[in-house]
Each structure stands twice: as structure tokens, then as C-alpha cells.
């Protein structure tokens, strides 16, 4: 059952705005240590806002690529474990173009959520 508006992303953005614009300046004056912690929290809320918006599609695409790469159906975590095992054993490496395309796409989707400004 769909929830009513605001969506998770909209609600998280509203909370982050309040904490950043109104609460942090007050904390910075009263208790700088908590002001710093609040900045970390606001940053994490921004990550969650992007994750709520972009995460489901990113996960689905990642699983789809892994199914193609590994040639079998399974849950995302199980497929990633199989890939990690292959990479540790050296059964695949950086010369494998399909592997590298998958990793590039996965990491691009992850950084777009965790820290889009990273370069």
C-alpha cells in the first residue's frame, strides 16, 4: 500500500532543511560539539534522501547486471558474494571489460547517493 505524501525522500529533505537552517546555528552557539554532530547528521539525512529516491532503481540495475555477468538468478547480496569470491580467487580481473563496466556503473550509482560531489 502506497503511503500518503510526503514521500520518504520529501520528508527526509524537510527534516534536513529544518535541522541545517534552524537547529544547527543555535547549537553552534550553545554547544559547538553538538553543532558538529548535527552537521554530520544533516549530511547523513541528505544521503538517506538520495537513497530513498535513487536506491531502489540502482539496486535493481545492479542485480540485473550481476545476473547477466554471473549467468544465474539470485538475490543481490548472494550474487555480490559470488563475484567477490571470484575476484579474490583471481578468476576475473581488471582485463575483463564486462566486469569493469559493471563495477563502474555500480560505483557511479553508489557515489551518486553517498557523495555526489566526490571527484
Amino acid at each position: 500500500m502506497a503511503q500518503d505524501r510526503p514521500t520518504a525522500s520529501e520528508l527526509l529533505a524537510a527534516i534536513a532543511d529544518l535541522l541545517r537552517d534552524e537547529v544547527t546555528p543555535v547549537l553552534d552557539k550553545a554547544e559547538p560539539r553538538l553543532g558538529f554532530q548535527m552537521r554530520v547528521a544533516v549530511n547523513s539525512l541528505a544521503i538517506l534522501e538520495r537513497e530513498a529516491r535513487l536506491g531502489p532503481v540502482a539496486d535493481a540495475r545492479e542485480r540485473e547486471r550481476l545476473v547477466k555477468l554471473l549467468g544465474r538468478e539470485a538475490a543481490l547480496d548472494e550474487l555480490n558474494r559470488e563475484l567477490a569470491d571470484q575476484l579474490r580467487a583471481g578468476a576475473r580481473d581488471e582485463r575483463d571489460a564486462a566486469l569493469m563496466a559493471h563495477l563502474e556503473a555500480t560505483v557511479a550509482d553508489k557515489i551518486a547517493i553517498a557523495n555526489p560531489k566526490w571527484k
Binding site: N80, L83, A84, L87, A114
Partner: protein, 343 residues
């Protein structure tokens, strides 16, 4: 001492006055005691000791008793205890390294846990300010070279003057990161890819292992308007490949946004290496330096997971540590870039 001083500070001040009196050989008082940083398990305090009419600007570094965090995946058994750190700092300072001068150790009668006292050095460690604020404009032009020079001194420390330290080579370091992933019990394909790449290209262990700082990077040294004043955070010190430190200081995460300046955010690799060689460090092999930079990037990525694990495992409750877990992907971006550059 003011009546408003919190109980912990009051205990520390009383014990420090006694310890300082013991060291200076005259009754001492403590002024301006202030907690600088650190978690519950590793603390830094600054204070002045007044002894025999002289004022001594000092710093206490200690692990409080009974606050020791259960050893976790991020606390390798090889991290130095305070007594060993004291002896490494003493040896490095004597060898002419810009490191704080250590004065005396705490004893069990002090009741402050394990720790030692050193002279306070001016400067700040905050990368963001050093990289961007106006007062450090001149320093910014010097720091890359200074980091190279100081590192050559560290590596030239006579091993005979050091306490027993573990020796780590490239092979052992790769194995240790893989064990780190196993403890986390997570599937981390990009790190596995990079570790296999590293494993296949391991440089030979140096014939003569040297004192390696182990965490030589922007954020772990003090600098003022004239540049670097003191190298801090020696608890990762060990014997090994000198190029390990040269690779670590260039890891992109330590550029704090100044991505086009690999040497800690302040200069080029060539500047760093030239200064290192001029100051008596060995000739830097670019391939070996690249290997250690890739290694350092994986290492920081796994440390991010381990920091988050300290919270997730229940060892400490910390939103700040938890959030570091989401920084690991930054190193995945960097690793794919580094491996592409090599291809």
C-alpha cells in the same frame, strides 16, 4: 582550579600536578587544562605546568583506565601502546624528526591509565583550514617539500634506537587487509579486485626495513604560517618499506578536495619525491609508489567499514563513526580510476 571543573578534568589535573612535580623535581601546579580531542579510549589534553617559577606548555596523551574499547577489527594488535609510542617518539625526535619532544611517562600510581607527557607544539592539524584559509597561503607552497624532507628523516632513524616493532612488508599488508574484509564478513567486489591486483604486483621487501610512520598524512601533522611544525599520531609506526609512507600521503582522501595536488593536497608527487631524495631518502621508484598508493586507498576504504563496524557491533554508540561507513565508496571510485590509469 575552578569549582566548575568537571570531575574527570579535576582528577586529571590533580594527578598531572603530582606527575609533573616528580619530573621537574619541584612542586608543580597545573593551569589551563583542556581536553583536545579523541574518543573515550584515547585522549589528548593540553595544559601548562608551573614548576619552580617556570611555565611549561605541555600535552598529555593517555588511554584512561577501564575505558579501553574491546579490540575490534579496526584495532589491530599491531597498534602501538602508549609506552612504545613514547619510545618511538623519543627516538624520532633524537634523530632530528620534527616530532613533539616527549618528557615523561605516567606511572600506575598516577591513576590516569597509560600515557605520557610531551611539549606542546604550535600549529593546527585541520586540513580544511590549512588548505583554504588566508594565513596559511605561504605555508601551502612549502608543505609538500617539507613532508618529503621530514619523511626522509623519519626513515633514517637508527633502528637500534627503537623499541621492538613489528616488520610489515607488501605481502603481509595485503594479507592483513583481506583478513580485515573477512572479519567484516561483507562482499566487497571492488576491494577484492584491487587486492588481487596488488597481490599480483607485490614489490619485494626492502633489504633494510626502516621506521615507517604508518599514518603519515594531512590531518596528522601540525602546521603554522611557516609550514609543518610537528608530525603526530605515531601509533601505526612499524618497520617496513619506506615507500609505504610516500604512497599513503598521496591517497586522494588526504587531499581534502585539492584533488590535483597528490602530495597531501599541497603539491605534486614529483615535488614530494624530489624533496625526499634531496634530504637523503632513497631514490623513489614510481611503480612502487603507485603500488603503495593503491594499497593505501584500499586500506582507507576498509578502515571506513571498520569504523562503522565499531558502532554496528555495539562496541561504541556513535552516529559519527556509523556515517564513516558511507565514505568507503569514495575509495571505490578512486580505485577504479587508479587501476584504469595503470592499464
Amino acid at each position: 582550579m575552578t569549582v566548575h571543573m568537571p570531575a574527570e578534568a579535576e582528577t586529571v589535573a590533580t594527578a598531572l600536578a603530582r606527575a609533573a612535580g616528580r619530573h621537574f623535581g619541584v612542586a608543580a601546579t597545573v593551569e589551563g587544562l583542556r581536553r583536545e580531542s579523541g574518543g573515550a579510549s584515547r585522549q589528548t589534553w593540553s595544559f601548562d605546568a608551573i614548576a619552580g617559577g617556570s611555565r611549561h606548555e605541555l600535552v598529555l596523551r593517555r588511554d584512561p583506565p577501564s575505558q579501553r574499547e574491546a579490540s575490534g577489527p579496526d584495532r589491530p594488535a599491531t597498534a602501538l601502546d602508549r609506552a612504545t609510542e613514547f619510545r618511538v617518539l623519543a627516538a624520532a625526535h633524537k634523530a632530528g624528526v620534527r616530532a613533539p619532544e616527549v618528557l615523561f611517562e605516567l606511572t600506575s600510581e598516577d591513576g590516569l591509565g597509560d600515557g605520557f607527557v610531551m611539549r606542546r607544539v604550535g600549529g593546527i592539524a585541520i586540513a580544511r583550514k590549512l588548505l583554504r584559509d588566508a594565513p596559511y597561503e605561504t605555508a601551502r607552497g612549502k608543505i609538500a617539500s617539507q613532508l618529503g624532507e621530514i619523511l626522509a628523516r623519519i626513515h633514517a632513524t637508527d633502528p637500534a634506537t627503537l623499541p621492538p616493532l613489528v616488520t610489515r612488508d607488501a605481502a603481509g599488508s595485503v594479507a592483513s587487509l583481506r583478513r580485515g574484509i573477512d572479519v567484516l564478513d561483507r562482499a566487497l567486489p571492488v576491494f577484492e579486485l584491487a587486492l588481487t591486483w596488488l597481490d599480483r604486483r607485490k614489490p619485494a621487501a626492502p633489504a633494510h626495513p626502516v621506521l615507517v610512520h604508518g599514518d603519515y598524512r594531512t590531518g596528522n601533522y601540525l602546521a603554522d604560517e611557516s609550514g609543518v611544525t610537528a608530525i603526530l599520531d605515531w601509533e601505526g609506526a612499524h618497520l617496513g618499506d619506506p615507500v609505504e609512507d610516500l604512497g599513503w600521503v598521496c591517497v586522494k582522501s588526504w587531499r581534502f578536495g585539492a584533488v590535483d595536488k597528490p602530495a597531501g593536497g599541497f603539491g605534486s608527487r614529483d615535488q614530494l619525491w624530489a624533496a625526499y631524495e634531496r634530504a637523503g631518502g632513497g631514490k623513489v621508484d614510481p611503480a612502487r609508489a603507485h603500488w603503495w598508493e593503491v594499497f593505501g586507498t584500499v586500506r582507507w576504504g576498509i578502515i571506513c567499514h571498520q569504523q562503522a563496524w565499531r558502532h554496528l557491533s555495539g562496541a561504541v554508540k556513535s552516529m559519527e563513526l556509523a556515517s564513516i561507513g558511507r565514505r568507503a565508496v569514495e575509495t571505490e571510485v578512486d580505485l577504479l580510476q587508479l587501476l584504469k590509469e595503470t592499464a
